[in-house]
């Protein structure tokens, strides 16, 4: 599969071929700690991951020596501050240095207002790459996580980003395959072209079950001070949402994205992002 080719070869059980097993376990350990902000003990990690305690202990020790995890006074472990530094050095092709941390505030506010997750995506390698997420309080109907890749032709964020590209680039994209992922996916290039024109005109996009039948979404473009689209904010929600709720989600997406764009007006966005180097 294309996504796997992107990440590296894997066997059927999801374990990378020609990897280092103890690093695969380290990744699981980081995963576990990511979901335990209050910390986890060695015994608990060993039990949950079915790993020998000595391996857990030595892994945590190694990670702690580099501040990737931190040992708390009560003997439990949490993710450590070094991750902040590494994350700050992650560049995404279209990332506008500082966009992600600034966006988080707006994503959080949006998620709180609509009781759904909100996401920030940028154009990367022919997909809409989710670079920041705000979780909904209560029970989110639709899960979302950073690193997820949404197809450009079959997601609200993807269509928003695609619509912002120059005409020649859109024409080249429309000439390629547009796989029908659900009955609602727009796989006809002429129809998708009309849809993109409408998105440019209205300033927002909708996903009507085009990626996953049961999930709809609204998205709006984030612009830098020069007016260039640098990202998209989107909110996915259950397909069965009633019209008043849909309208509320759409208006909140538009309002909070406009606020993010306004705050970007004060942020020097590095030019040259988005292009292939």
């Amino acid at each position: 599969m294309a996504a796997d080719a992107q990440r590296g070869a894997r066997a059927d059980n999801g374990v990378p071929v020609n990897g280092v097993p103890v690093l695969d376990r380290m990744s699981e350990l980081l995963d576990l700690l990511e979901h335990r902000p209050e910390g986890a003990t060695i015994a608990e990690i060993a039990r949950r991951l079915a790993m020998p305690r000595s391996t857990v202990y030595r892994s945590l020790n190694t990670l702690a020596a580099h501040a990737l995890v931190r040992r708390l006074p009560d003997g439990s472990y949490r993710l450590g501050p070094r991750l902040l530094g590494l994350a700050a050095r992650v560049t995404i092709e279209a990332d506008a240095g500082g966009l992600v941390p600034l966006a988080q505030l707006h994503l959080d506010r949006l998620a709180r207002a609509v009781h759904e997750v909100s996401r920030l995506s940028v154009l990367s390698d022919g997909s809409a790459l989710v670079v920041a997420v705000a979780q909904a309080h209560g029970e989110p109907a639709v899960p979302a996580r950073t690193g997820e890749k949404l197809p450009l032709h079959a997601s609200a964020a993807g269509k928003t980003l695609l619509a912002s590209r120059p005409d020649a680039e859109i024409a080249a994209f429309l000439a390629g395959p547009l796989p029908a992922l659900t009955r609602s996916t727009i796989s006809d290039p002429a129809r998708l072209a009309l849809e993109l024109a409408e998105i440019r005109r209205s300033g927002w996009a909708a996903d009507r079950g085009e990626l996953v039948e049961a999930v709809h979404a609204f998205a709006a473009p984030v612009r830098d001070a020069s007016g260039r689209v640098v990202a998209a904010v989107s909110v996915p929600f259950p397909a069965e949402a009633e019209p008043p709720r849909r309208m509320r989600i759409r208006s909140r997406v538009l309002i909070d994205t406009a606020r993010l764009t306004a705050s970007l007006g004060t942020l020097p966005v590095h030019a040259g992002a988005g292009g292939r180097r």
Binding site: V20, R58, N61, R78, L86, V90, T91, P101, P268
Partner: protein, 261 residues
């Protein structure tokens, strides 16, 4: 700590991640092997696992690798666990404005395990602007933000820290406890602190305090720049820095006020 209690493969993986952290555009595998002094086959196998974990990604250039987006999710969890989420949310737009206004880098630091930890930074835009590193921490006796945080510590903890030998980093580092105490008093009275190259010879900084609704110091906003700009920064941009901290403090107080909810 004995090496027996470590896992060499994880040590090597961290070395690779740290290396890639210095090259935003990524590096080819051969270069990673050379820089880390590991064999290509070792690097290849480590990268396979790091790629699968999303800690590393392939770049648009054939055979090049860079830090991966999974780190962004992990860092978000660190912030969520730091208890500083409200502070970060409130402070970010103010720091962005401060840096846009002055062209210099700005950063937000909190007291963390006896050091000043940078939890957010905005790079400067002028030709000689510095780029502070989020996640980096500094000793409390050397640096502008450090001194703001040290001055605000509980008196017993501060005295204990100042009773230990103060490490010298440059000729400007204040290593005399009495002189440092005088400087902290001045910083508290005037509401700002300066670094005249106390940690890095060529780097100076200005800092002021962010307070919560009860008036307690929660964090420090500082601006670091090349030392020769120090006088110009003090004359030109110190008021903007102090205003920035006051605005963040006011927003924090509003956030804590139940009547404003």
């Amino acid at each position: 700590m004995s090496r027996d209690h470590h896992i060499p493969a994880i040590e090597r993986a961290i070395r690779i991640l740290a290396l890639l952290g210095r090259y935003a555009d990524g590096l080819p595998l051969a270069e990673i092997a050379r820089e880390t002094a590991l064999t290509r086959s070792t690097v290849y196998r480590i990268l396979n696992s790091l790629l699968a974990a999303g800690l590393v990604r392939r770049t648009g250039r054939q055979g090049w690798l860079a830090l991966g987006p999974r780190l962004i999710g992990l860092a978000a969890a660190v912030q969520a666990g730091s208890g500083a989420e409200d502070l970060l949310a409130v402070a970010q737009p103010h720091l962005a404005r401060l840096s846009a206004l002055t062209g210099e880098a700005s950063k937000l630091s909190i007291l963390d395990e006896g050091r000043a930890l940078c939890i957010h930074a905005v790079p400067g835009s002028n030709a000689y602007a510095l780029s502070p590193i989020v996640g980096e921490s500094f000793p409390l006796h050397a640096g502008a933000a450090s001194k703001i945080l040290l001055a605000a510590m509980a008196p017993e903890a501060r005295s204990a820290l100042m009773a230990t030998p103060l490490e010298r980093f440059t000729d400007e580092t204040v290593v005399d406890a009495a002189a440092l105490a005088r400087e902290l008093l001045r910083a508290t009275a005037e509401g700002w602190a300066e670094d005249r190259g106390e940690h890095g010879v060529s780097v100076s900084a200005l800092a002021a305090a962010v307070r919560d609704g009860a008036g307690r110091v929660r964090a420090s906003v500082s601006m670091a720049y090349l030392r020769e700009r120090h006088q110009a920064m003090r004359d030109g941009h110190l008021p903007a820095l102090i205003d920035c901290c006051a605005a963040i403090s006011a927003d924090l107080a509003r956030l804590e006020d139940p009547r404003a909810a």
